[in-house]
Subunit: 534 residues, 2 copies
C-alpha cells in the first residue's frame, strides 16, 4: 500500500487534525503503585489543558468515591486556557453510566466513554455470556448515555483479538444509537501495524457509517508497538489517538503521548499535513510533572522526554552537530520545552519575585499558599546557590501534596557509620493529633529511619518501591524520593523533595503511609473492582 | 500491501531465521554517562553469549586503548555456550580497519563492520567531500577489510535521509568488493515504517545482488519507532536486526533487543515463522545486568523487561486473568525469565551452597574469587533474612567492579538530623597508597559524605547523575546506587550495592571517581573522537 493511498483512505481523510485523548489519569493511573489523590490529579489535568490535549479521560467514576470526586473536580475546575472535553469511563452497566454522568456533567464539554469486549476469549471466559448479549448491552449502554449528553464514545474492548465481522456488528449498533466516537482498542498489545491497519480498513468496508463519526485508536505497548500501531491507525483514518504521558498504563503501558505528538509534528509534511493541536513546548514539563507525581521514572534514553534524548555522545556525532545541527538532529530540543534550565531566583529573591516566577510557569499562587511556598523556597535557597525553574516545579508539586490528612513527620535524628550499625530516632504526629516517638537500629540509615517511623505509627507495611532522583544537576541538587508502600493490599505512593535525602525519604514515606491508610478506609464498589481498562 | 506479500518479498525470504546483532557494547555504550571498563564489558558479552545473540559488536577499537583492549578481551574469551561473531567497528580509514582487525582477529568468528555516510547532509556538512569520494572510500575500505577476513559488514550511514539511488550505488560497490552483510541504518531515527519498507523494497530493485548477502537494519528511537521500523525491515527481507539491551544507545537509543525478540517469538506464526535464536528466558537477567552496570534504569512500564510489564492492576483485568490468563496475557512472564524471585540462600548457607547457587546462575567462581564472594555474601546474609538469586546477581556484579585501580573508601561516619546540618567524616585510600581523611558539614547526609570524599581526594568533580534503587522488595532490600561524575570533560560511572544506602552511595561515588580519573589518563585518538555510531 503506497503512502498516499494509506493517508487518504480514512473516513475523515479531508480532516488533517488528529485529536489527542489523554488517558494518563485513567489507564495511566491504573499502573501498579500509582495512587494519585484529587489534588494531584487536578494538577495533572490542569497541565494537560495547558499542553492542549483535546480530551482528558479523568477516571472511572463508579470504581470508588475517590475516583468519582477526582473526575468531578476536574470536570468543574479545568477550563484554562480552553476547556478540554472531560471523559468518564463506564462499563455498559446502568450504574456505571449514571456515575460517569454525575461526575462529568458539570464540565463545559462532558463525554461518557462506555465499553464492552467483543473477543470470544473475553465473552466466554470473563463475561461468561453470549455475543447476542454483548450486542444488547452495547445498544442499551449507548442509548442510556445518549439520554444524558450528545458526546458518547464506545469501545469494543479487545477488538484486535475479535472477529472483525462481529466487532463491525457491535460498532454498527453503537453508531445507530448515537455514539459519536468509536475507539478500537488493542487491549493486550498484540497487534502488528500492518495487521491493525488491515483490521481498520476492513471495518470501514463493513461499517460505511464509520465515516460519519470519529474513529479512535487505543494501543498498548506489550510488544513495543503502541506508537507504531497508533500511527498505523491514523494513516488508516483514525482522527483520535488515546495515549498517556510517558507511556504509562496497564502492564507495558499505552502509546506515549509525546512520541505520537512529535512523530506527527516532525513528519507532518510527509503524511499529508496530519497533526495534533498540542503545544509541544509543554511536553517536557508535563512529562516531569507526571513522573514526579506518579513516582514512575523516565528512562534517560526515552524518546522525546528522556534526559539524553537530545544528547550527542559520540565524537563523530558531536563533530557533526557542531558543524551543522541537522546532521544528527531531526528535532530541536526547545520545541519540546527542554530549554536550558536557567536560574530564576536566588537567596535574596523576595515574595514578589517568587510570585512572578511561579506565575510565568503557570502556577497562580497567592495569600496563605504563597506564604507557605515562600517559606519552602527560602529553606531551599539558603542551601542552594541558584534556584531554577525545575526546582520551583518540584517544590510546587511537593507543596500540593501537603494536604493529605494522616501522619506528619515532626523531627528525626540518624547516626550512620561504616564501623557500627546506624541508629535512628523519629517523632511522628498521628492522625488523631498525638505525638508518637520511635527508634530503631537498622542495616542502613534510611532503613533505620523508616523502621523507626513504623515503630512510631505501629504499622509494618510492605515497601514495594523506593527511588531517589536528583531534580537538577550538581552537588547541591534537590533530592527527590518516591516511595510505594502496601497496607492490606492497598498501595500508597509518596514523594518529597529536599536537599537532605534522609529528610526527603522520611517525608515521602510518611506521605505514602497516609495515602495507603486513606485508601484502606475507602469502600470498594459492589463488584469489588477498584478500576479497569479497555 | 498484504501480509503474505510483505513477508515474502525479501532476498532471503526462504530463510526464516533473523540474526540478532547486539550493539549494547558499542552504540549502547556511547550513551552519555555510561563508562564501562573491560571487566564489565566482558561480563555483559558473556551474558549476551548465554542469551544466544548471533553477533556482538564489542566496540570501536580505534577510538581508545581502553576500547581496543575490551574488544580484544571479548574476542579472546567469549565462546560459551557457542562462539558468537565478534564485530569491531571502523570508519573507512585504513588505520580504523587495521585496529578493528587486530582487536577481533583472535575471535573464533571475527567480523569487521565499516561505514560511511551516503546522505548529502552528512557528505556536504560533516565529511565535506563529494559523492565520488564516498564511493571510493567505501570500495577501498571493504577491499582492505577483505584482505584480513571473510566476514565484512558495510553500512551506508544516514541511509534513510539519503537518495536511494546513490545509496544503491554505494551498496553495489560494497557487495562487489565482498561485503557479506549490508546494514541500512536509520541513524537519526527519522524513518516511518511504511517509508522504510518502501526504501528497502526500492533498494532490492536497484541492487538485485542484495539477495546474495544478508540485509541488516539499524534503527534509532527518536520518534518512538525503532522497533516498528526494524520489524518493517524484517518484513521487507532483512535477516539481521541491530539492537541493544533495554534499547540504550545514542540519544533515544536503538531498537530494544528484548522487544524485537519477543515480538517475533509471540507473532511468529503470523509472520511466516520468522524468529531469532535467542533464549528468551535469559532476557530479564540480561536487562538487569545491563541496567546495573550502565546505571541506566528501566522504566517500570518498559515492554518485556519493565517491573510492571506483566502486572495486572485494574480490577477487571485481575478478574479476567484469574478466570483465564489469556484474557489479558499474550506472553507468559516465565518465558522472559521473570520467574518468582525465589529465596536461594540464608545466613547458615556455606561456601559450597554459594558455589552451587552461583554455578546454577552461570557464574563459575572458585578459589580466591569464591572467598571474596563468600565474605560479601555473609555480610549481606547477616543483615537480610533471605538472600535471593537477584541479590546474588547484584553482589556478583558488584564484586567484578572491585578491580578498578584508583581510590578506595576505608571508612565513613555521618550524623544527620532535622534539627541541625548533617556532618560527615571519611577516610579514602589514594591511588598512591596514602590514607586521606576529609570532613564536611553539608545540606544532606549523602551530600556531606560526597563532599567529605572530595575534600579527602582534593577534587571537585561535577555530579551528573545520582540514582538509588532497590534490588529486591521489602525493608531489608539491598540498595543499589549509581553515580555519574565528570572530571575534565570525561565522565565516569560507579555502582555499588549495600543494605546501607550511605555506604552504597559512598562506594559508588569513589568508584565513579576512579573510572573518571582513569579516563582522563587515556589518550584520545588522532581525530579527537572518543567514539561514534552509524
Amino acid at each position: 500500500m503506497s503512502i498516499p493511498e494509506q493517508i487518504d483512505q480514512g473516513a475523515n481523510a479531508a480532516d488533517r487534525r488528529v485529536l489527542v485523548f489523554d488517558t494518563t489519569l485513567r489507564d495511566g493511573e491504573q499502573s501498579p503503585g500509582i495512587a494519585l489523590n484529587t489534588a494531584e490529579k487536578l494538577e495533572i489535568a490542569q497541565q494537560l489543558a495547558r499542553l492542549g490535549v483535546d480530551v482528558i479521560e479523568a477516571g472511572f467514576p463508579i470504581t470508588s468515591p475517590g475516583d468519582f470526586e477526582a473526575v468531578q473536580t476536574i470536570a468543574r475546575e479545568v477550563s484554562d486556557p480552553a476547556p478540554p472535553i472531560i471523559a468518564g469511563l463506564a462499563r455498559t452497566h446502568v450504574a456505571d453510566i449514571d456515575a460517569a454522568w454525575e461526575a462529568v456533567r458539570d464540565a463545559e464539554r462532558p463525554r461518557i466513554h462506555t465499553f464492552i469486549s467483543t473477543s470470544d476469549i473475553h465473552i466466554v471466559h470473563q463475561l461468561q455470556t453470549t455475543r447476542e448479549d454483548v450486542k444488547g448491552q452495547a445498544r442499551a449502554a449507548v442509548a442510556h448515555a445518549k439520554r444524558y449528553l450528545e458526546d458518547v464514545e464506545f469501545s469494543p474492548m479487545d477488538a484486535t483479538r475479535s472477529e472483525v465481522e462481529f466487532t463491525a456488528e457491535v460498532v454498527k449498533i453503537a453508531i445507530e444509537e448515537g455514539a459519536t466516537t468509536i475507539n478500537i482498542p488493542d487491549t493486550v498489545g498484540y497487534a502488528m501495524p500492518h495487521e491493525f491497519q488491515a483490521f481498520l480498513a476492513r471495518l470501514y468496508e463493513l461499517v460505511p457509517e464509520l465515516r460519519d463519526v470519529t474513529l479512535s485508536v487505543h494501543c498498548h505497548d506489550d510488544l513495543g508497538l503502541a506508537v507504531a500501531n497508533s500511527f498505523a491507525g491514523v494513516l488508516a483514518g483514525a482522527r483520535q489517538v488515546e495515549c498517556a504521558v510517558n507511556g504509562i498504563g496497564e502492564r507495558a503501558g499505552n502509546a506515549s503521548l509525546e512520541e505520537i505528538v512529535m512523530l506527527l509534528r516532525t513528519r507532518r509534511a510527509d503524511v499529508g499535513g496530519l497533526d495534533t493541536g498540542v503545544n509541544s513546548r509543554e511536553l517536557a514539563r508535563t512529562s516531569r510533572l507526571v513522573s514526579r507525581l506518579t513516582g514512575y521514572p523516565v528512562q534517560p534514553n526515552k524518546a522525546i522526554v528522556g534526559r539524553n534524548a537530545f544528547a550527542h555522545e559520540s565524537g563523530i556525532h558531536q563533530d557533526g552537530v557542531l558543524k551543522e545541527r541537522s546532521t544528527y538532529e531531526i528535532m530541536d530540543a526547545t520545541t519540546v520545552g527542554l530549554e536550558s534550565n536557567s536560574i530564576v531566583l536566588g537567596k535574596h529573591s523576595g515574595r514578589h519575585a517568587l510570585h512572578d516566577a511561579l506565575a510565568e510557569m503557570g502556577f497562580e499562587v497567592d495569600g496563605q499558599a504563597l506564604n507557605t511556598a515562600f517559606k519552602r523556597f527560602k529553606e531551599i535557597a539558603d542551601k542552594k546557590k541558584a534556584v531554577t525553574a525545575m526546582d520551583l516545579e518540584a517544590l510546587m508539586s511537593d507543596e500540593l501534596r501537603g494536604e493529605i490528612p494522616g501522619y506528619t513527620l515532626e523531627w528525626f535524628e540518624v547516626e550512620a557509620s561504616s564501623r557500627r550499625p546506624p541508629h535512628a530516632r523519629v517523632a511522628v504526629r498521628l492522625p488523631e493529633g498525638e505525638l508518637a516517638e520511635g527508634s530503631f537500629t537498622g542495616d542502613g540509615p534510611i532503613d533505620a529511619v523508616l523502621a523507626a517511623i513504623n515503630t512510631a505509627v505501629g504499622m509494618h507495611p510492605k515497601l514495594s518501591d523506593f527511588k531517589i532522583g536528583a531534580v537538577t544537576e550538581g552537588q547541591d541538587a534537590l533530592g527527590e524520593v518516591s516511595v510505594v508502600v502496601e497496607i492490606e493490599g492497598r498501595s500508597g505512593s509518596g514523594q518529597a523533595v529536599s536537599t537532605d535525602i534522609i529528610e526527603a525519604a522520611a517525608r515521602a514515606y510518611v506521605r505514602a503511609l497516609s495515602v495507603a491508610r486513606a485508601r484502606t478506609l475507602e469502600p470498594r464498589d459492589a463488584a469489588g473492582l477498584p478500576a479497569t481498562a479497555p
